[in-house]
């Protein structure tokens, strides 16, 4: 009986490892994840529809973390980042931090997708307040109604 249980566990373990290897295998894909794994915007939309129903998918690309897609979305006029694993079963919301450099990679990408070149907005007619030399700018478009 003990022998049978042992064989059973060995078979289960090997099967699990094969399954994981097939999902996240690196060698098979020549260390290029996108060679073996694909995701389309429509697929992401389908995955997100239960959680963020009104999300628009702007971009899907491999994230800095192997085995996870980085998805840029827009919802209610706000752009953001979520992650989807290669098995397409899980959505991860939160920040990816680089342990070595301590950089918040999610925040950096967030800043990138929200970047607007306001040098294209002529500010000559704008009403201005504050220090002329201040390096930081806040530009507000508003109406009083």
């Amino acid at each position: 009986m003990r022998k049978f249980i042992l064989i059973f566990f060995v078979v289960i373990s090997i099967s699990s490892l094969i399954a994981i290897r097939n999902t996240y295998s690196i060698e098979k894909c020549d260390h290029n994840c996108t060679k073996c794994h694909k995701i389309t915007n429509d697929e992401v939309l389908n995955l997100l529809k239960e959680i963020i129903p009104d999300a628009k998918v702007l971009d899907a690309r491999p994230s800095p973390v192997k085995g996870i897609w980085e998805i840029a979305i827009e919802t209610k006029g706000q752009k953001g980042i979520v992650y989807v694993d290669f098995s397409k079963k899980y959505i991860v919301s939160g920040s990816v931090l680089d342990i070595k450099t301590k950089a918040n990679l999610t925040q950096e990408r967030f800043a990138e997708i929200n970047k607007v070149d306001v040098s294209q907005i002529p500010l000559d007619d704008a009403l201005v307040m504050g220090n002329k030399e201040a390096k930081h700018r806040v530009i507000v478009f508003d109406d009083p109604d």
Binding site: S119, L123, D142, D143
Partner: protein
């Protein structure tokens, strides 16, 4: 606005630009924007702007006149300005700038910092809609930290 002014504008940390973006379906917004510009012609833009934003439910021509009187503008000049629509084109120009920048609702706030060339501004954050002050503060603090990290 008073908190933003006190904590970030008065302390010289940020420079604040205001552009008119009266939404077409806000019936009284355009005239109110013109009223603030007309008061601005007499050096009272911010006083009138604050007054209008304090009483956002009262934007009829009579209300705007009361506000103008309260901030101490020369009333005949103010009324002549408002009737002439002389700032109408300027407001429309602001609206078009907002549309080009991707503003869809109000307020739309862009936060950024001056680039090394000293002339252009790189916006790194867009806030759509009226958000609690704590959200605005968090965004500004994050902006200040990021630019400090980058040594700009």
């Amino acid at each position: 606005m008073p908190q933003i002014e006190k904590e970030y504008i008065d302390t010289g940390k940020i420079r604040y630009y205001f552009l008119d973006f009266p939404l077409p379906f806000h019936n009284q917004a355009f005239k109110a924007a013109e009223a603030a510009e007309c008061a601005g012609e007499q050096g009272k833009f911010w006083e009138m702007h604050n007054k209008i934003f304090e009483n956002q439910r009262a934007l009829s021509p009579e209300d705007l006149s009361k506000d103008a009187e309260a901030v101490g503008v020369d009333m005949p000049k103010f009324k002549a300005c408002l009737d002439s629509g002389k700032f109408s084109d300027e407001i429309k120009k602001d609206m078009s700038k907002g549309q080009n920048a991707g503003a869809t609702g109000t307020p739309t706030t862009f936060l950024g910092w001056v680039q090394p060339d000293g002339k252009t501004v790189k916006a790194v954050k867009k806030i759509v809609g009226a958000q609690p002050y704590s959200d605005f503060k968090e965004a500004v603090e994050s902006l200040l930290k990021t630019s400090e990290t980058r040594g700009k």
